[in-house]
Symmetry: C2
Subunit: 492 residues, 2 copies
């Protein structure tokens, strides 16, 4: 830790930070201005326009002023990129609170919770009676989730799946060097177009299955972005439509697949890359027993087989893809179903997708490494074991990184669960469920999250959403950097 | 796996197995004969003597005949030693069922459960109304637990803490080479004498604090052996004595400390090695917040502060030491207290002690390695991080072994918990608690374990007790070896 102190150059870092804040402000500013277009279709929303136009213009102008020297920033190193990513989610959420505070009259903490939940694609909410809110505010949430989804995909492919990290070996092309910006620009355009196209396909499918255009668009955005915020309190359950459920399952799975797989699909015009992807395969390997157990437990408490299966499939996919859409209330689910869903939320979707959690590639590697460990316990010392998954060979260092990440993830999960149990006297199953949902950016809820929960718990969940979204280490690097940087700035 | 097949030499292995069975039979035979001495003090127990004397004599004689060529076995390699250890607990438990079946009229599965629970030092029981059973049967349980305790210490120091395993670096002197037998003989005598002396001290302390001689001896045996089987249904709670609680806490901690520390204490005649031991330190580091949370949760539900603290301290020590003594019923404890106790049971005591669980040294290493991972995420690649705990430097391979073990341990825990929830509709907190207790060889219970539980669950718990006791890999090596060996034997 002490050595780290030497590597910080205050004046360079401050310059980078100023430019970064400028860029974030411009980005959020443009995001603010977009919902104004909704007035074209829904003229009655005009009265809320100032709450978007004013902060939007202010952000753009102030951001442009701050980053007026931006041409001087030539390149960023990995540490700066990690800090920047962590800061972006923290700060963008902060800037985006205005409509929640002004239109919905929510407190700052509630607004920041909502905003963080939206930008991180979590979907837990401080709002109830959703349909009573103006459309423009509901669109604002969906829009942040959609942008946050594509945002994390690009950050994941460029920063989180960094060189030296096991997942990088599977996606070498996207994560070759520490110099990030050139790489990012090359692939991001195509990936963004795929994301946009899939969203429009989703919205069309929703629309022809009976949703109104507004619901169709917002649910396609939060479904593919695996954000999971709905415009109805009952979430997807509001529509009572098996067809809409099926479209949702399709979108959730698409959102939880590494976007380089979509890229390959697009380039090769074949479905082969999808079924060859190791993360996709393991998604189904984990889903099948999970669905069986959830359905069996629902059947045990009296659900008819068909209904039990439908609930099990939908919520299992919603959990592992970290989307958070529901078709029924989960608070009355049997504890074993809650537990299995919580495990799926902890596993999470594919690295390089919009999903959260530990990520399938890491869980797969751990699963495979158990076999290797048993082999090495049986074979005499010195015998060489090939650590292969698919066509990729992994080093012990890769596996150690994966396990360290998992342990850190579980440590935060444990802390959050115990804290929740102490604060609201929740059962273990409920507390674990809710914390796994926040930390995995899922958004499924058994009812602990509400405007009435203690404020310290709200702040804890805000932090867990943030930490989970940036795969922990970025946020820890950020926090430690701040801790070292602040005293220096003060000294200047 | 396939390569492993080549390394099995059927005729050598069969010869070793025959000798091993012979040795176990002689050992269990002698163990059977010892309780007969109880008749000297309690003449009314004479009617039960045949159920010990007959199987005892039979085992000794048959065992001696089987291992009549034993002088030919010169040395065993590590794989054979691991298989032998796994088989010993499985087979000794099988041989020891006679008194349970004949005196207590228990079914074979219940008797095998009781016998495995005793030999593995778990303490979960299929018997209720304990005081209604003959003393000689109660002594038989305590005696198996005591022998099983010293047995696992010797096995741990010689086989489980094997070279290449992280814990071995801390106890290098005891685990230097793959040639086990010479090493074992050297230290085992002194360690056995210490074990015996501590037991007698414990019995004396119990006696002067009001226990009758029989209770004093049996509780000292099962306390130091961290077995936790009592002669009363209410366990230590039966005595309603703070002094007896304190003696028990002392014995439980002694039993959960690596026995090479006791050895050092004995040699140096000072307490320094105790407080310098990294596992002892971390035991207290984990205990303090755990006790605080348990006590707070008991206070929340209405316990007076003193009573809450006493229950928290006793049960936290009972859990982390994997003893399983209770002073009150735990089934009505708040879920957060159950969860914290379950975590302590998963952590477990010191490697090289009579305790179970993941072991303190492994958890300590993981905790420390989180710091190293964060450092390596912050520092530029290539920067060297010293992986030190105390004065010992650990390699990445060590850490990987520890994490693989932990993941395997958690995988079994997860499977057992879900299975329990499905079979008896237990809550998550209760199922996790009971499975952590069985797998960690603890014996605390929230009431799931009983003669009325489904027979498949009994068999699962028997397996978990066995797997947990031998630190998993030995049992997996055993199972895989059997799977490869049997077809070959059949072909001969
Ligand atoms: K979500
Ligand atoms: K025990």
């Amino acid at each position: 830790m002490l050595e780290f102190r030497k590597r910080i150059n205050v004046s360079t870092d401050l310059f980078v930070v100023k430019n970064l804040i400028g860029s974030i402000l411009q980005g959020v500013g443009l995001a603010y201005l977009f919902p104004v277009l909704l007035v074209w279709f829904y003229p009655d929303q005009i009265e809320y326009v100032p709450y978007f136009a004013i902060p939007g213009m202010a952000c753009v102008l102030f951001g442009a002023w701050l980053s007026r020297h931006s041409s001087k920033v030539e390149d960023v190193n990995l540490r700066q990129a990690m800090i920047a990513a962590a800061f972006t989610w923290l700060f963008a959420s902060f800037v985006s609170v205005v409509p929640f505070m002004k239109i919905a009259n929510m407190s700052f903490v509630d607004s920041y919770f909502e905003s963080m939940s939206a930008w991180t694609g979590t979907g837990l909410t401080m709002m109830s009676h959703l349909s009573s809110y103006p459309k423009i505010l509901l669109f604002w949430r969906a829009w942040m989730q959609w942008l946050g989804g594509i945002g994390i995909v690009l950050v994941a492919l460029s920063i989180l799946i960094r060189p030296g990290v096991a997942a990088a070996r599977l996606y070498r092309a996207e994560a070759r060097s520490e110099r990030i910006l050139p790489n990012l620009v090359n692939t991001s355009k195509v990936i963004f177009e795929i994301y946009l196209a899939l969203t429009l396909v989703g919205a069309y499918l929703y629309y022809i299955n009976g949703m109104n255009p507004f619901d169709a668009l917002t649910h396609a955005m939060t479904g593919l972005g695996t954000g999971g915020m709905s415009t109805h309190d009952q979430s997807i359950g509001f529509f009572h439509s098996p067809a809409i459920n099926a479209v949702t399952i399709f979108l959730m799975i698409m959102g939880a697949v590494n976007f380089t797989v979509h890229y390959k699909l697009f380039k090769s015009k074949s479905l082969k890359p999808f079924f060859e992807d190791i993360q996709v395969r393991y998604m189904f390997i984990f889903l099948i027993p999970a669905i069986a157990i959830i359905a069996y437990s629902l059947y045990q408490v009296g659900d008819p087989v068909g209904q039990a299966l439908q609930g099990a499939i939908f919520h299992a996919v919603s959990a592992i893809s970290c989307t958070g859409f529901q078709i029924t209330s989960l608070s009355n689910y049997p504890e074993v179903a809650k537990f299995i869903i919580a495990i799926l939320m902890v596993i999470g979707g594919g690295a390089g997708s919009t999903a959260g959690g530990i990520k399938l590639i890491r869980v797969t590697l751990m699963y495979e490494s158990l076999k290797w460990t048993i082999e090495s316990a049986i074979l005499p010392r010195g015998a060489v074991i090939k650590r292969k998954v698919g066509n990729y060979v992994f080093s012990e260092e890769d596996i150690q990184e994966v396990m360290s990440f998992t342990m850190t993830y579980l440590a935060f999960l444990l802390f959050g669960t115990v804290y929740t149990m102490l604060r609201v006297k929740a059962s273990l199953a409920n507390a674990l469920f809710e914390v796994a949902s926040a930390q995995g950016n899922v958004g499924l809820s058994v009812g602990i999250t509400s405007p009435h929960m203690p404020v310290d718990l709200k702040i804890l969940y805000i932090l867990l959403m943030w930490i989970g979204r940036l795969e922990i280490f970025s946020t820890l690097v950020f926090i430690i950097s701040i801790a070292f940087l602040l005293p220096r700035v003060a000294r200047k």
